[in-house]
């Protein structure tokens, strides 16, 4: 796979709507992309999409779970108010980024709208200085109250609208839901790479649901599949003004490997060795507490599932201008493929003897 294909997939995947709890669109697209590379595909009752590929080791070989969440942050209609729509956040929305944002409400039909608030002219000096809260915002659909009530009801999903934009000669992409459609694309890149690479382990490629509301899809998927080891793919903070050096990672400098209590030290060592072997650049992110990714849930499933986290650096997380370097997505997929190839019985058996 090349950068152009990565961009095309991102364009289609970020154009899909998959607010936590209703991931049907991204699940279908992900399934479509995975289909040529896997032997079985299904969706579980929770909304996770699962592709399975047998390895050369057959049914007795160790199994690897690759998890990339397919959901995105968004909102839900909480109340209709004289033709305007009040809403409740789904996932970690930053209300300060929302004013003037184009949205769609998925009611009886899809309705376009824009997020508004009381104009600054009508606020007191003191009120203007306060940050916007969700309660201050509403959605304007340009319809009369009867029209709104006919189309929209409490609980309808609201998605943010932003077509993917490329910059800097096509290396940089910016848009919504790159957290974590970028991770999903890296997973697909890995699946594609593995067509020509023999791998011993059996692999479950899982697009997880409801990560943004508490890594919920990963909780049930890891219990259900009960793999021997796991890799979560997600995004991490890119370096930008105002982000401390210790919290941000350079765009274009390769995937970020998590180190810390959530990750198995032997597997971390293995992925670093693989990166050196294939001459792939990588960065290291110390994660001292529970990771804010699927890794957190997978590690403590059942009797414990050892794993690692690969992250793609991304600026302005949880906004509609999330920005990343396409090379990082590609490199993450390749590193993951190399890691999958390196898994054998010895590695897995050695994981308890630390």
């Amino acid at each position: 796979m090349d950068k152009e294909q990565v961009k095309d997939m991102l364009e289609i995947l970020t154009g899909a709507v998959g607010v936590s709890g209703d991931e049907r669109e991204p699940a279908e697209i992900t399934a479509g992309y995975l289909e040529p590379y896997v032997t079985r595909l299904h969706r579980d009752s929770f909304g996770n999409v699962i592709g399975f590929k047998e390895g050369t080791g057959g049914p007795g070989a160790p199994s690897l779970l690759v998890a990339a969440h397919i959901d995105e942050i968004g909102a839900m209609v909480s109340r209709l108010e004289k033709g305007f729509v009040r809403f409740s956040a789904v996932g970690g929305l930053d209300p300060r980024t929302l004013l003037g944002q184009a949205v769609e409400i998925h009611g009886r039909r899809r309705c376009r709208g824009v997020i508004g608030a009381t104009p600054p002219h009508l606020l007191t000096e003191k009120e203007r200085k306060k940050e916007l809260r969700i309660e201050d915002l509403f959605i304007d659909l340009g319809m009369d109250p009867e029209g709104v009530e006919a189309q929209i009801r409490v609980g309808d999903y609201i998605s943010l609208v932003r077509p993917l934009l490329t910059m800097a000669g096509g290396n940089i992409a910016s848009g919504k839901a790159l957290d974590n459609r970028a991770g999903v694309v890296a997973m697909i890149v890995c699946a594609a790479e593995l067509v020509d690479i023999r791998h011993f382990c059996r692999i479950y490629f899982v697009g997880t649901a409801q990560e943004e509301v508490g890594v919920r899809g990963a909780i049930v998927a890891s219990y259900g599949l009960s793999p021997d080891l796991a890799v979560a793919i997600d995004v991490t903070h890119g370096l930008s003004p105002g982000v401390a050096e210790e919290d941000g990672f350079g765009l274009g400098e390769g995937p970020v490997v998590g180190v810390g209590p959530n990750f198995h030290p032997r597997l971390v060592e293995r992925v670093r060795t693989v990166a050196r072997e294939y001459c792939l650049p990588y960065q290291v992110e110390p994660v001292p507490g529970p990771a804010s990714t699927d890794s957190r849930a997978i590690q403590v499933s059942r009797e414990g599932i050892p794993g690692i986290l690969l992250s793609i650096p991304l600026r302005y997380m949880h906004s509609t201008v999330e920005t990343l370097n396409l090379d990082d997505v590609l490199l993450t997929g390749r590193l993951l493929a190399g890691f999958a190839r390196s898994i054998d019985t010895d590695l897995v058996e050695g994981l308890t003897c630390i």
């Binding site: 992110e285 001292p288 529970p290 009797e303």
Partner: protein, 342 residues
């Protein structure tokens, strides 16, 4: 004393290897019991030990966590100093001008801050925040530092256990090496009942080890052995001391993570009173322990907490009384002898 050996070792959450190896050595060394213990580890690093007793009884799990709070190196500055983040709950005020050991090679380092002379009047009025502090390992620059340490390395307090006053000790990580020491003693002595001991990892970052250990052991009853807060110190009204040193093991009725199984809790009180063993209540409903994760494992586990009182937990220097450790061993032993029928 096992406590001295265990408490001196570094073992920040996620990096419990040294403590785990030391416990295995103790359990298989010259004091090893006969018949020998069955010992295994899991992928998170929990150490799971089966002890055969004179009688089978119900499936009992005794748990103590091996990890301690500490630091993790995040970045190395051009100047050679290290930035860090806490692992587990640490009050930043205790960190300034302390000594730590960093990374696998246990490189000594100090936690520095701006000299008081250079601080403006307003600065002096505020406690240090974590962002203002850094680790100094004496490296002249980033490259020199990278030869010794790397981002992601753990750092633990550099504290050696010393006796203090009359029957007291001072040291680090009594939360929960005290519990580990109790558990080691129980494993090495003859036991009335068979039980599983879990030396768990990652308690300080959310009882992650205990969750998988309990899932794997499937106990019917569980006792979590902790080192807990004592605030029998000046400035605390008697109503709020939580626990007191020298008054025996503390029993929790509840904390943030769990409510003690009322019958098991009552049974421990009854055993203590009937045998005339000292005990006290942990008079506080906050704080969390492995009990929360264990109690909610699978179909639920009747769980209680027995804790050794320690002053100044989560700092480089805690203080505890040795008699409390011994009394904790005695209470659990007596509980076994009572038959633990629930």
């Amino acid at each position: 004393m096992y406590l001295e050996l265990l408490s001196n070792l570094p073992g920040v959450s996620g990096d419990e290897g040294a403590v785990r190896r030391a416990i295995v050595d103790l359990l298989t060394g010259e004091d090893a019991p006969d018949p020998p213990l069955t010992i295994r580890t899991d992928t998170l690093g929990n150490l799971l030990v089966h002890k055969q007793g004179r009688h089978r009884g119900p499936r009992i799990m005794l748990a103590a966590h091996m990890d301690e709070v500490g630091l993790m190196v995040t970045t190395i500055k051009e100047s050679g100093q290290l930035q860090f983040k806490p692992v587990g709950g640490i009050d930043p005020r205790v960190l300034v001008s302390k000594v730590v050991k960093v990374g696998e090679q246990l490189i000594p380092g100090v936690i520095g801050s701006k000299a008081i002379h250079l601080q403006k009047r307003e600065e002096r009025k505020k406690p240090y925040t974590l962002e203002q502090l850094y680790l100094d390992i004496g490296a002249g620059g980033k490259e020199e530092a990278l030869e010794l340490v790397k981002p992601g390395d753990y750092a633990s307090f550099d504290t050696a256990l010393v006796p203090l006053g009359d029957g007291y000790v001072r040291g680090k990580a009594f939360d929960d090496r005290a519990g580990c020491a109790v558990l080691v003693e129980l494993l090495l002595m003859e036991s009335e009942l068979s039980f599983d001991a879990a030396f768990t990892v990652q308690e300080e970052v959310g009882s992650r080890g205990a969750a998988v250990a309990a899932y794997s052991l499937q106990p019917e009853l569980a006792l979590v052995i902790e080192g807990t807060m004592a605030s029998d110190t000046p400035g605390t009204a008697p109503d709020f001391t939580i626990t007191r040193l020298g008054h025996g093991p503390a029993l929790s009725f509840m904390d943030r993570s769990f409510i003690a199984d009322r019958r098991l809790w009552q049974q421990l009180i009854t055993v203590a009173e009937e045998r005339g063993l000292p005990y006290q209540h942990r008079r506080f409903a906050g704080g969390g322990t492995d009990a929360g994760a264990v109690a909610l494992s699978r179909e639920g586990v009747k769980t209680a907490v027995v804790a050794v009182p320690c002053r100044y937990i989560h700092t480089p220097h805690s203080v505890m009384k040795i008699s409390d450790l011994k009394d904790t061993v005695s209470l659990i032993k007596a509980w076994f002898e009572s038959g633990v029928r629930i």
